[in-house]
Amino acid sequence: MNTVYEKPTVNVHGDLLMVEHITERINSEKDYNKDIIDNIIKNSENSDLSKIRLFKFSEYEKLGFPVWKRAKLNGFDPKNYKKINIKTNLPLINTESAGIEAMEILGVYDFEGADRKFVLMSDAFFNSGFYINGKDYNNKEIVINYDLNENIIENTIIKMPENTNLRIIRIINGTKNDGFKNNVLRGVLEKNSSLTIINVNILGENDINIDNEFFDLKENSSLNIFDLHISGKISSPHIVVRFSEKNAKANIKPYFLGYGNTVTDMLYLMRFYGKDTFGSINGKGVLKDTAKSVFRGFLDLKKGAKEATADESEYTLVLSEKARAEAIPSLLVDENEVNAAHAASVGTINEDKLYYLMTRGFSTEEAKKLISMAIFEPFIDEIEQLHPETAEVIRNVIISKI
């Protein structure tokens, strides 16, 4: 079986030579070791999975934890390992007891993720995660509630067979301490299937949340991701979408609110192989205090992706002089017959709008709040159509934090 591996940087791309960045790494004395993996395997009845775990561990043990300058991660000490339970609205199959179909996906699809070490951590040591097959939940809605008071190492696999349709809402509730969640999610969308994922990451200011997601889109399938990040010492989504067949469509809407000393470090990569594919990344965020955001949006159109449409936009509203927004949009085009556009900008509160609101009796502070809230409102409105309770949760959190 061929494996599929995607990573954001490419050594040689046309005549453009990109020098691959070497990540500095620090080994942790508390890192998960062979004893832990042996113990997991001893208690497992899933021999295919155990093989995969061991294989992933062989790569894992060679790597230290990364140093991320932008996100101020200086290596990492994993927390005590234990198995956990996650609340869901419908009964789901745990990845631990998933069958051959899931193992195939796990074996075939691999990627770099926010960092390889974290991808491998979830692959080798996952203590939670689900195998979701779209045919078991066709036209349904799955709501998963994560509580960061648990040390969550998730490994989730989603298979969307032909003509299935599913919506998944993943709500991550942060802590007042130093919660940790690391995730690997692989999704395969077969012909004519449709998947919507609403990621609601509501973190505490000391929580770390690393979310690696990889989707493979077959013919005429459709993927919609709403990706909300509120706060977090580090909230780091790394979402890769591979348009492998014609007419596949994907929209990603990243939204973020940073305050205090939090860092939102985002990467969205869309890689187009199929003809007539359509992908868009439209992000918006608000930063307060000394918060920081890094937004990487990569559109990569490969030869053969004729008439593909790729579009990306990002806007960050910065409310404080000490907040830092960085946008790194990138467009790589190997194919001539494509439509592609990207734009990124950073702005402050528009003085004319502020003044207009003040003539209607809003104080400076109220007007600023309103304008900041307005960034999220179209996003919340859209979620309201899909899942009113979630929209309400999001609205209340943002109002209280903005």
């Binding site: 003085e351 004319d352 709008k353 003044y355 207009y356 609101l357 003040m358 003539t359 209607r360 009796g361 809003f362 104080s363 400076t364 109220e366 007007a367 309103l370 304008i371 809230m373 307005a374 960034i375 999220f376 409102e377 179209p378």
Partner: protein, 257 residues
């Protein structure tokens, strides 16, 4: 009739470049009066309106603005709005992401802090004011002025005048960019919304709206000053002779100095 609003020898400059725009404006408004201010483009009419509202783009160098005998110069824009001073914008701002109905509701609450009407009642009022200005209800579910045509924005401003029911209403070129039908609707709405307690300053470039909303006073404005005050007839003269009358008058003042 009592004095509601006074502008006394008001002089102001643009903060950014220090240019003087208002060069000594004097105006007294009593309850129930409609004052038209007519002047050529660039004469500083919008600047006068914005200085009254307390825009931070301008700095007052001399003079005073009194509301019921008290200076408002120390008040921020929102405080002036809360006193009951309202301005409709020549070019209203679009605020994407803020729903029109919610914005109107909050504006009403801001300005009528002591009114304990229920949200339902205010919402109903909003709907009925929208009907008065013949604005489709659907606009109330849109974001503030976002994607509105020029005419729709002006209707939205007049709706706000009606809803907020201020003591001083400043209409800055409410007639510009309106077709005949929209102009009639806007004018009828102004007539409906103005009260015996309200003073109105109607800033305009053209006479046509004054045929529909009759002013008690017409002021000819040039180079940041009121250079002549008269009644409706003055507006008609300007309509017939154009702003050449302004040039003559301005010439006179210049010669007189």
């Amino acid at each position: 009739m009592s004095v509601l609003f006074e502008i006394k020898n008001l002089k102001a400059k643009i903060v950014e470049d220090g240019r003087m725009i208002l060069n000594g404006v004097n105006l007294t408004i009593n309850e129930g009066e409609v004052h038209a201010i007519m002047g050529p483009n660039g004469s500083g009419k919008s600047t006068l309106a914005n200085v009254i509202m307390g825009s931070s783009k301008y700095e007052i160098t001399e003079g005073d603005i009194l509301f019921r005998g008290e200076s408002i110069l120390g008040l921020s824009t929102d405080k002036r709005a809360k006193l009951g001073i309202f301005m409709s914008f020549q070019a209203p701002e679009e605020i994407n992401g803020v729903k029109m109905r919610q914005f109107l509701m909050n504006s009403y609450r801001n300005i009528h802090e002591n009114d304990d009407s229920t949200a339902l009642k205010i919402s109903r009022n909003i709907t009925s004011f929208a009907e008065t200005v013949s604005m489709d209800n659907e606009f109330l579910d849109r974001y503030v002025n976002t994607g509105f045509s020029g005419g729709e924005k002006k209707k939205s401003e007049i709706l706000q005048m009606g809803l907020l029911n201020p003591y001083i209403t400043i209409l800055d070129e409410i007639d510009s960019g309106l077709d005949v039908d929209a102009l009639r609707i806007v004018a009828e709405s102004i007539n409906k919304f103005k009260t015996a307690q309200m003073g109105v300053i109607m800033i305009t470039h053209y006479q046509r709206i004054l045929n529909l909303v009759e002013p008690d006073f017409v002021h000819v404005y040039s180079n940041g000053q009121i250079i002549k005050t008269g009644d409706f007839q003055l507006a008609k003269d300007i309509e017939e002779n154009g702003y050449s009358i302004v040039k003559e008058l301005a010439g006179l003042t210049a010669d007189g100095e």
